[in-house]
């Protein structure tokens, strides 16, 4: 809180420290919610500009991180509403086609073999492609819970909704993701895995 108070008094060095402390999480939320990293830098800048402008009115009623992540999520949702072009990330089907139907990159346990960088890049794209098939509301809860490891109570505070809503969205989002992966997983299992 000390750092936030220094930022509120207009201390630019303190604000830099604050940005550096939270930028990693902010970027990861943005990339996962947006489904690709191309606009992440612009969105993150908007988030921190908004936070800087609003800091004087932040009264510490909630945790700073909760407030920051709320600004981040809302900025992403606004951006998604305004976005005209499609995400640059390939669909899961395209990624599977590209790997000539070999589904090991999706389901085989990660190997420390450094020669598999192509598979690794494809895997990261596949994770975003799978998330992209969800609605933004569902994607947000999966990102905050299963990727960023936030508690359901914290997510409820970030989204400003009851914990029950988070629970039901999380259940539906996980189910939707599972169903999206089902045909690929069954094909992979049928291939003797």
């Amino acid at each position: 809180m000390e750092l936030v108070a220094r930022c509120q008094s207009g201390d630019r060095a303190a604000f830099r420290q604050l940005v550096e402390q939270y930028e990693r999480t902010v970027f990861n939320i943005i990339v996962s919610v947006m489904g690709d990293p191309t606009e992440a830098d612009d969105i993150a800048q908007e988030v921190f500009l908004k936070v800087y402008r609003s800091l004087p009115t932040f009264r510490g009623g909630s945790q700073f991180s909760v407030w920051l992540y709320r600004v981040t999520v809302n900025q992403c949702l606004d951006w998604l509403k305004r976005r005209r072009r499609r995400s640059a990330v390939m669909s899961l089907d395209q990624l599977v086609d590209q790997s000539e139907g070999d589904l090991d990159f999706l389901f085989k346990d990660a190997s420390p073999d450094a020669t598999e960088t192509l598979d690794e890049a494809r895997l990261q794209q596949a994770i975003h492609a799978a998330l992209n098939t969800l609605t933004p509301d569902h994607r947000v809860v999966i990102v905050l819970k299963d990727l960023e490891g936030r508690s359901q109570e914290e997510i409820a505070a970030i989204l400003d909704c009851p914990v029950g809503t988070v629970k039901s969205r999380l259940t539906r989002a996980r189910e939707a993701l599972k169903e999206r992966l089902r045909p690929f997983y069954e094909a992979w299992k049928a291939g003797g895995n």
Partner: protein, 155 residues
């Protein structure tokens, strides 16, 4: 725990979000139910896939670019946001004050209308309405009220 297949509990089970007793019951069910065991397998594959996400690193020089934008937008000082915050609270007060002043003005206007009517300066016809305060009433009513007032004053 629901009866039948505990489908809704499979993700919480795999993610370790169930109580010990609930987890035990799901585990026992899956040991005896091949359909749920297969489903748990898919749930695990889904969670494993998410767990393999590699966090992205912020792009280099993020602060430098952000700092340049802070300078460009002239938001170095925290003065303006404070002003905006205060004015947001002042606006309702100003609106209220304006409404009070406006209603006082109309009250005044209403009295002038009555006076001009009674002194013969009024240009309206019988049945027309005049504004008294913020209410429209017929000129006849105004006249009757004024006559009664006069009668009371002369008593």
């Amino acid at each position: 725990m629901q009866t039948g297949h505990p489908i809704d509990l499979l993700f919480p089970y795999v993610c370790g979000e169930l109580s010990k007793d609930e987890a035990q019951r799901v585990s026992e069910h899956c040991a005896a139910c091949p359909a749920c065991a297969r489903e748990v397998d898919l749930v695990r594959a889904t969670q494993r896939l998410l767990a393999r996400r590699v966090p992205v690193a912020p792009p280099p020089f993020f602060w430098t670019r952000l700092s340049a934008r802070l300078d460009a937008e002239g938001v170095r000082s925290v003065f303006w946001p404070e002003v905006i915050w205060v004015s947001k609270r002042l606006i309702p007060a100003l609106i209220a004050a304006t409404l009070i002043l406006t209603s006082l003005f109309w009250q005044d206007e209403g009295t002038s209308n009555i006076e001009s009517y009674l002194t013969g300066n009024g240009t309206g016809k019988a049945g027309e309405q005049v504004l008294v305060g913020n209410q429209a009433i017929s000129k006849e009513t105004v006249f009757q009220t004024a006559v009664l007032d006069d009668a009371a004053r002369s008593d």
